[in-house]
Amino acid sequence: MSDQNTITGNAPVAPRLALRDRSLILKVLTNPLGVFSAVTVTLFAFIAIFADSLVRYDPGRIDYLALNAPPSAEHWLGADGLGRDIFDRLLIGTRFTLSGALLAVLMAAIIGCTSGLLSGYFGGIWDTIGTWFTSVIQALPGLVVLLAAAAILGTNLYLAMFIFGFLLSPSFYRLTYVIVRGVRNELYVDAARVAGLSDLRIMLRHILGVVRAPIIIQAGIITSIAIAIQSGLQFLGFGDVESITWGSMLSEGFKVLTVEPLQLLWPSLLIAWVMIALIVFANTLRDELERVGARVRRATRKSMTDHVKAEAEDAIVHPEPDRQGELLLDVDQLEIGYLQATGKYNVVVHNTTLTINKGEVVGLVGESGSGKTQTALAILGLLPAGGTILDGRLVFDGIDLRNIRGKDYDKLRGARISYIPQEPMSNLDPNYTVGSQLIERLRVVMGMSKSDAKTRALQLLDKVGMPNPEKTFSSYPHEISGGQAQRVLIAAALSCEPDLIIADEPTTALDVTIQAEILELLRDLQKETGVAILLVTHNFGVVADLCDRVVVMQYGRVVESGAILDIFDNPQHPYTRELLGAILDENGAARGAYVAPTAKAGK
């Protein structure tokens, strides 16, 4: 079930396992596999309910003239060793087989879901009891318990399935528990508590909806397991002699296997058919729930050029006569698109032009969705799946980045262009020490020996201001703070003496006092090494602190670029002005003193 648990991500577009709308049922029914399983389930439900009217003979009727009769007009699928009509017995058997399985699943779902809901929601003592009980149940060998129960309590099909349901309940418990624990921490549940809702109401309104779909999926799988186990028990002869089930027919068919192999075939076919249909149903429902948007079509060559060319609104470019250094990175009229379900490209970056000279620190500023990160990732050659550079030039120090692939890009990325990410912690592998992650890079990219790499790694840690490099070297990522982790990643980025560092919101995840230290460090290291930096950020304070030049992006376009003072003191584009105007000036007037509400007349 782990794949279901990972879906509760916090990305805004992440699909949630919730039966959210009717379109989901429609989606399942338009999927060919969904149709297969839906038809099967409906058919067998119908047979189970109306079996009495569908049979042509009394299923218990013994016809001595038709012992082991082959299929004929009279007995469509033949007759068994006692001359009973096999087709009729299969119909009646459907009823007992399915109702037995259903009983087991209902038992399991009611016990499992209720206890999972309670212990997941309330935690504490409920949690302890629930976990303890499920562990005990799971420790019991299911089949042995059922056989023992059959020996003591007699061979009643429904009783066996009742007990089996109890044994299956942990699978529902664990599923519900995990999901509820996740939802329990959602802020909307907190908001409901603050709104004064009772626990019962919160569970019904906010939690049950999320649990419902995974439980239906689970129920499909568990039903098919129940059918298998039940048939197995009946086949072994521990079943109920009174009731006709597919399992008992299997057992009877097995006895005449050498004479009449077809008698074994019919119930086997039905068991397989229903089990497959149930599992296919569960998988289809899960697939449809997890699918983001519609099914994606393959890109065609035509669609690459077919996308709508953006209307070129020229960016405002401030003249920069004082610019120094030679050209390092040249991004010209870059267009980046993502392949849509329709087969067309959604263009997220249009006509973006920016240049970075050696030794320059360039701020790429914009709000979410402005295309700044996409541009940075394109330079690194790390656009997510579906993203493509559609048009434009991307040249780094004479190398056309659009023409190199695979290993060639790897060499460039490691050695000449490096990257400082936003989330320092998630960019360090928790399984390895900080030191080994630094060394690996030095050995692979720079071809250093192990001892040289260690010496260099310690130097680097010292350089980025780690008070005790040896200690940090042998620490695991969880043993260092977020600010220290970012220092480690800066050390890693510097390790191969790159020409260009792409820093994507390098201080956004950090506290302001730590941010100040990291900015200080970046500035010092930049001065010392002369590396060029492309600083992607939304924070004008960070830009003011570090950058020589600024490029402002909005809606995937560059709207203005220029030297830092020109942008801050003489912004031309309305959007740049809006952004600068939105900054809360801490030198401006504060809120002012409090006036008691009596002074204001009424509300």
Partner: protein
């Protein structure tokens, strides 16, 4: 002397781990703070300092292990669920993350009417109130039938504000309500907070890590550090002329959004750190 709306006295919150014999984590170490009716009190500090915990303690979402939280003369630190239902009319919340604070499977009308229905307001009445609320936060009237995923971060935060306003509370705990938003969106949402506050006279406990945001909205400001309030007073005073070394460091660390001013600030910060 104006009567206090909320009086937090020496509140401690300790989170206990599962292991027996281990001392729990003390998130708040005796915090005192008060809010007058219609006042905005800013609470500023860095991650892990306990500012969110204080907000949650007031909302009844964090275990208060010592001290009192007095709201309109009665101690609500250990209120039962039934009492909480009553308090819900007076104390509401706007959370930081507009993506997880709204249930994705409910539509906006259901989200906004939920607190009303919980207080026994009739469905028809709640429906009318939802219209007013959408209007109050400048969302279109047809927003009610749509679901959260159809709205941007800023719009979602407006919905969260509308939900907090539904019961006409006297105090709203705003926990980093603009820090997940873009710069220009954040400015507009802050304006909305101020407009509502001035119009309705609701009091805010405004929690943020951003000194400039807190300064912009607050009458009084408290600076929190390691579970304690280290400085507390008039908003302008605390944010422009901080006294406590930590408040000073906090102020100096925030980069000024102008290159030359920031260069000056950088020097000041270096001097402060060298002196400290």
């Amino acid at each position: 002397m104006t009567e206090l709306l909320l009086d937090v006295r020496n509140v401690e919150v300790t989170y206990h781990g599962k292991k027996i014999g281990k001392h729990g984590f003390k998130a708040l170490k005796g915090v005192s703070l008060d809010i007058r009716p219609g006042e905005v009190v800013g609470l500023v500090g860095e991650s892990g300092c306990g500012k969110t915990t204080l907000g949650r303690a007031i909302l009844g979402l964090a275990p208060v292990t010592a001290g009192e939280i007095i709201f309109e003369g009665r101690d609500i630190a250990h209120a039962s669920r039934a009492e909480r239902k009553e308090i819900a009319r007076d104390i509401q919340v706007v959370f930081q993350d507009p993506y997880t604070s709204l249930n994705p499977s409910m539509n906006i009308e259901q989200i906004l009417s939920e607190p009303l229905l919980a207080q026994g307001v009739s469905k028809a009445e709640a429906r009318g109130r939802v219209k007013d609320l959408l209007d109050a936060v400048a969302l279109p009237a047809d927003a009610g039938e749509r679901r959260p995923r159809e709205f941007s971060g800023g719009q979602r935060q407006r919905i969260a504000i509308a939900r907090a306003l539904a019961l006409n509370p006297k105090l709203i705990v705003c926990d980093e309500p603009v820090s997940a938003l873009d710069l220009s969106t954040s400015a507009r949402v802050l304006d909305l907070f101020l407009e509502i506050q001035e119009r309705t006279g609701v009091a805010y406990l405004f929690i943020s890590h951003d000194l400039a945001v807190v300064r912009h909205v607050s009458h009084r400001v408290a600076v929190m550090y390691h579970g304690e309030i280290v400085e507390w007073g008039d908003g302008d005073q605390v944010t422009s002329h901080p006294q406590h070394p930590y408040s000073k460091r906090l102020m100096m660390a925030a980069p000024v959004p102008h290159p030359t001013l920031q260069a000056k600030r950088r020097e000041e910060r270096k001097a402060l750190l060298a002196a400290g």
